[in-house]
């Protein structure tokens, strides 16, 4: 299971990098799905099976499908690989690479120096999560429902034709 974690993590990082650098929007979304599935395996390996299932159902299922719908609605020129390649000349890569690279070196350097205790999880299943979710974090659940309602109304209003 330990090797599974490292393999899935490497897969997630590579797929995430391909997601942000592809010029074809559909390819990028497919790599995002791959990264989400690899992350779900990570969650499973870290003893969070409920979150792993939610990652696949909610993220790879619902959210990615909504993104795909929008890609189809703005299809053609807006998401064609040709235009994306024109928007990404080699010199456009320099500053983002430097900034993100500096951020990565700083955070990973500080984390690697810290060492850290081993995670040896026993599984925390849906029962434990649900018990705490609907007692300690009940107010959070209510606030999340208000947020989702606001998102629904906002999306309906913004998406409507004039």
């Amino acid at each position: 299971m330990t090797q599974v974690f490292y393999v899935a993590s490497a897969l997630a990082v590579v797929a995430a990098f391909l997601t942000v650098t592809r010029s074809n929007a559909l390819h990028a979304v497919l790599y995002l799905v791959l990264a989400l599935f690899a992350l779900a395996i990570d969650f499973l390996a870290l003893g969070a099976p409920f979150i792993a299932a939610l990652e696949i159902i909610v993220y790879a299922g619902a959210i990615v499908v909504v993104i795909l719908f929008v890609i189809m609605m703005v299809a053609g020129a807006a998401v064609s690989g040709e235009q994306e390649r024109r928007w990404l000349p080699p010199r456009a890569w320099v500053v983002p690479s430097l900034l993100a690279g500096a951020l990565a070196v700083l955070t990973i350097g500080s984390l690697a120096a810290g060492g850290g205790q081993a995670v040896a999880p026993t599984t925390i299943g849906p029962r434990e999560v649900g018990a705490v979710l609907f007692t300690t974090y009940l107010i959070g659940v209510e606030l999340a429902s208000v947020l989702l309602l606001a998102g629904l109304v906002g999306a309906y209003y913004l998406g409507a034709r004039d």
Binding site: A25, A48, L54, A78, G154, R161
Partner: protein
């Protein structure tokens, strides 16, 4: 179950956040910026799951659920905005939105 040092999980999470930030800085297409944001949110979710496993408490997993609810609302409103922008200026170029330039 996997036995890995907490710092290794956090390094993977930091890498994902950095890749997402790289995408937001690099891309000009609003749709790809939204995809990069999703990658960043997933990096944060991995850090929460690592903390949940490290202290053997379910709280970290609950915050991942809140992140997912937030991501769903963000994607719904963000995609509606992208559709509306595309109808008005017929492009998804973030640099084309300079209507308020003085």
């Amino acid at each position: 179950m996997a036995i890995v040092p907490t710092s290794h999980v956090l390094i993977v999470s930091a890498l994902l956040v950095c890749i997402g930030a790289f995408g937001v800085l690099l891309r000009r297409n609003l749709l790809f910026m939204l995809l990069s944001l999703e990658v960043m949110l997933n990096g944060a979710a991995l850090a929460f799951v690592a903390a949940s496993a490290r202290w053997q408490q379910p709280d970290g997993q609950i915050f991942v659920m809140f992140i997912m609810a937030m991501a769903a609302a963000e994607v719904a409103v963000g995609l509606a905005l992208i559709l509306q922008i595309y109808r008005r200026v017929s492009t998804l170029d973030a640099d084309a939105l300079d209507l308020m330039r003085g």
